[in-house]
């Protein structure tokens, strides 16, 4: 009587020489770490860094291309520019001149006469006024 494990291992025992060769090949790469393992780990690092998120890189590139294209397509017409003196129309020039004149009048005009001004007085003056009344 045998266990299934024994039967399975016995059935494929003929592959042992090939498996031994595979094992020695793999161990040979371990014995030269500066050449084989070092290089492979560096390549693995690079592939981890760049190859794995390939879809993410592609998505980011697409988004950037779309942003640049939109910017180029709408850049001239949409952005407001300050108007220069040469571009002002006569009506605009007149309105600006009126506005300047109005501001100048406001600055020059004195305070209205009917507005009461508060002048601080001593408290004794107030009592004298009450007594006189």
């Amino acid at each position: 009587m045998k266990t299934p494990r024994e039967i399975l291992l016995q059935k494929h025992a003929g592959a042992q020489p090939q498996l031994n060769a595979l094992r020695e090949q793999t161990l040979a790469t371990l014995s030269h770490p500066e050449v084989a393992v070092g290089r492979s780990s560096f390549v693995a690092f690079l592939s981890d860094l760049f190859a794995l998120p390939r879809t993410a890189w592609a998505g980011l590139a697409t988004v950037w291309v779309a942003i640049v294209a939109l910017n180029l397509a709408t850049g001239d017409g949409a952005s407001p520019r300050p108007t220069t003196v040469a571009e002002r129309t006569p009506a605009l020039r007149q309105a600006l001149a009126e506005q300047r004149r109005f501001y100048a009048e406001l600055i020059r005009s004195p305070m209205p006469a009917d507005v009461p001004t508060f002048v601080p007085r001593p408290r004794s003056d107030g009592r004298a006024n009450i007594a006189a009344a």
Binding site: K2, T3, L8, L9
Partner: protein
């Protein structure tokens, strides 16, 4: 238990430190069971040898990702299982893996583990293995070859423990039924 006791003595820590002798010991221990697992799944000897070699190379490269040294065996088999899945996807994209039988199936009856095969039944064991789907075969092989726990088999095959129970129960029940049928 095969896996648990032996795992204490495997030189995984030394292998992680880059000791070639430790790797040699580990590969010697697992090369044949790993090959049997892969070749029984893929049905192609040359491809199975390639997968074993890729598994060894990946193991030396990514040993740093192994957290529990006692799980080295199941970790190694999980690398090989992923390689097998890549091979399954390539030529037979139109044939999906068979569905599970449902987790309620496993609770109906217990099948004992002490399955011993007489000499005249050895060929029938292989015939039955061939009749099982890849998913059921994978679970049964992991159970037979390394006596992995349900949790370890679930980790290797990437399915839930309930699914592993279901598949294992179905596979063992089928095997027992076939063996009893032939002896009756």
């Amino acid at each position: 238990m095969l896996a648990v006791d032996e795992a204490q003595q495997l030189p995984v820590a030394a292998a992680r430190a880059g000791d070639a002798a430790a790797w040699d010991a580990l590969f010697r221990r697992y090369q044949l069971p790993l090959y049997v697992y892969v070749v029984e799944l893929l049905r192609n000897e040359q491809t199975a040898l390639d997968v074993v070699q890729e598994t060894f190379i990946n193991a030396t490269r990514y040993i740093g990702s192994l957290r529990d040294d006692a799980k080295f065996g199941s970790w190694l088999f999980s690398i090989a299982h992923q390689k097998c899945q890549q091979h399954w996807r390539k030529p037979r994209r139109d044939q999906p893996l068979p569905d599970d039988l449902g987790e309620e199936f496993m609770a109906t009856e217990e099948v004992p583990d002490d399955l011993l095969i007489r000499a005249e039944q050895e060929e029938e064991l292989m015939t039955l293995l061939n009749q099982l789907s890849e998913a059921h075969r994978a679970v049964l092989l992991l159970h037979f070859l390394e006596e992995f726990s349900l949790e370890e088999i679930a980790t290797v095959t990437g399915v839930s423990i309930g699914t592993v129970k279901s598949r294992l129960h179905y596979a063992k029940k089928s095997m027992r039924a076939l063996l009893e049928e032939r002896t009756a």
